[in-house]
Amino acid sequence: MLKFLIWLIVAVALIALPHGLSFSQQEILVFLTINILVVSSYRLLTLTGEWSLAHVVIMGVGAYASALFTKELGLWVPVSMLLGGLTAALIAVILSFPLFRMKGFYFLIGSFAAGEIIRLLWKHFRDPFGGAKGIKGIDPMPDFSIGIYNFDFFEPVSYFYFAGFIVAICLWILWRIERSPVGLTFHAVHWQDKLAEASGVNLRAYRTLAFAVASGFAGIGGALLAHYIGTINPNSFDLDLMVFVLTWAIVGGTGTFYGPILGCVALTILNEVVLRELGFEQMRPLIYGAILICSILFLPKGLESIVQKFTKRRAKQ
């Protein structure tokens, strides 16, 4: 009952949240919501011990696929988004054949190369990907009304509700996967790979599964982004954004489900709200970098370790 009440309060707070923010902060909230899905899906991949540098490009696969499904085939936007996620998962499965011949550092570099190949394909094939300029005029979510609320998807509040609903479902699925026997096997693949293999676990199959599922959700994140801003290009999914995703995960910590989310929320608010409002716009990259270094030096287990310390202390009391 208490748990239900807490979730209810959280839901009400999230519904009320955008109304307490300025317009630009509402816009940032939309992007933050999408980024939470991307970084959470990335964590699922890291459960198996592999860190990919192609995750943001895979997110782009979802964005491009969804944009093309609506533009070229005229599919309904929510259907396109779902198909965008499936396309991203399918591409991940294809990529897994060469990539999972490698491990660790080699996988990292291999994933970067794979991502760059995909980005070059977007640039090279102006039809259908739009080349360097990408695709613009992507159909937005069609507006609708539910009686008490009119969803105008140009407005960030409406899109936040829509994206928040989708992301909440995705996070719940990711959570359930992590807590399922499959999720426990992902952990085993990372920490006890020899033992797991000896127990009959197909390591490569589980790594592929984690890669595909994580990519599918990243693809949905990309689709949510594409249909909100209405344009995408190969630079929208470049290494810079990948570095951000890595930074969110590292600063937040990857030991818990909420760690990367904490990192994403804290650093986005710091970067996009606090530093901008303080007038440090041009020093943001410098400050951002300094925070990353300080975090690695002084908080190696991420922000989640602070939460854990606090909750453990309370439990003891």
Binding site: E27, L120, G134
Partner: protein, 430 residues
Amino acid sequence: MISKIMAAGLSRRTFLKSTAITAVGASLPSMSLAAGEPIKIGFLAPLTGAVAAWGKPGLDGCEIWAERVNAAGGIELSDGKHPVELVSYDNEYDPAKARTGATQLIREDNVSFIMMLGGDTWPGVQPVADKTGMLFSTLLPSDLSPDSTTLIAPTEVHPIYLVTGVDYLADTYPDAKTAVICAQDDALGLPSVATYLAAFEARDIEVLEEPLLFDPATTDFAPIVTRLMSSNPDIICLDTCYSDYVHPICEQLFQQGYKGKMISATADFYDQMIAKTSKEFMEGFIFQFPDFDDPALAGDNINFEDANGFYEAYAERHPGQWGAVSWEYASIMDLWKAAAEKAGSADPEAVITAMKEGGTGKHAFGDAKWWGTELFGIDNALVGDWPVVVIEDGKAVIKGFKSIPDWYDQHGDLLIKHMQAYDQMYDQRG
């Protein structure tokens, strides 16, 4: 700060207040100003990252412009004089951040006009412009299309002005008959490549290889330069490369012993390029953006007020920072101010109507006409003469002004042919 935001999120008063603002926001933009109240102008461009060289110097120039205007009493509208206030937002050359910035500038800062670099960021802002009717400017007319009626390109006519540099090169060095082109593979590079191809073809200069389009993430230019030099061209064209690319490319050309001609859209911070290479190596480098201390900019044909004084103030405040865009956004502000004063209002629709009245306008480099239907589907680019600039004895010197419309009248079909080949015509983009 964070707690303040979170606390505000749960406050009933804030909830009601923001709901009311949302309702009012539907009728944005609201442009009514009380006499003496500052007119806010938005500056939405990259101030950090690889493209910052085409944003930050522009903001610095605008601040000097605003100080000069405010010192002279401000902008005179029908209800009296108003000082000018600049509000900037760093879009990091990212369409999503540009959208957020446009939203903030229009809905929170109540700006009357927004200046952008354009390019990759414009498609993110276009829906905001459509919904709000806000007047935007771009430095890149290739953003223009019939769908964007509130977007104007009143100063820079990139990439069409590039033809003037090629014309000068062909006239001055008739023996230079072969060229190669390189550019970053993006929204700035591609239309520029198409324009250089047309300009070279118009002057019978053979382009030896397909233009070399490199990834914007490139950091090692040695192999690119090796490949460019491999066909032993008379001319190497650096297209519209960002200064972060022009500098290392020139450095590599110097190190690999290149001896031919060089042409580029820009040579921002060329003093640094000379320091990295040599005065002799950079001698004769052709580009399109003058230093405003040039005596040619004190002529009667120049509409940019006190160009030499503006440069002096800029150089004093930001030594070594003068670049292509240092004066461009300020020049746009000149046109906007004149139109707003003519209309007696800062309302976007009134300003654009006044600005385009008669089909001509006072461009920085002389009187020009609103042009562009064939290329952009809309006459929202102000096109006239453009200077050709050459580095001589370590200093940028204007070698003359050439007419872009005259070139287009003769060779427009070539330009359209190459633009179509690169899918850069307005009806092909996106």
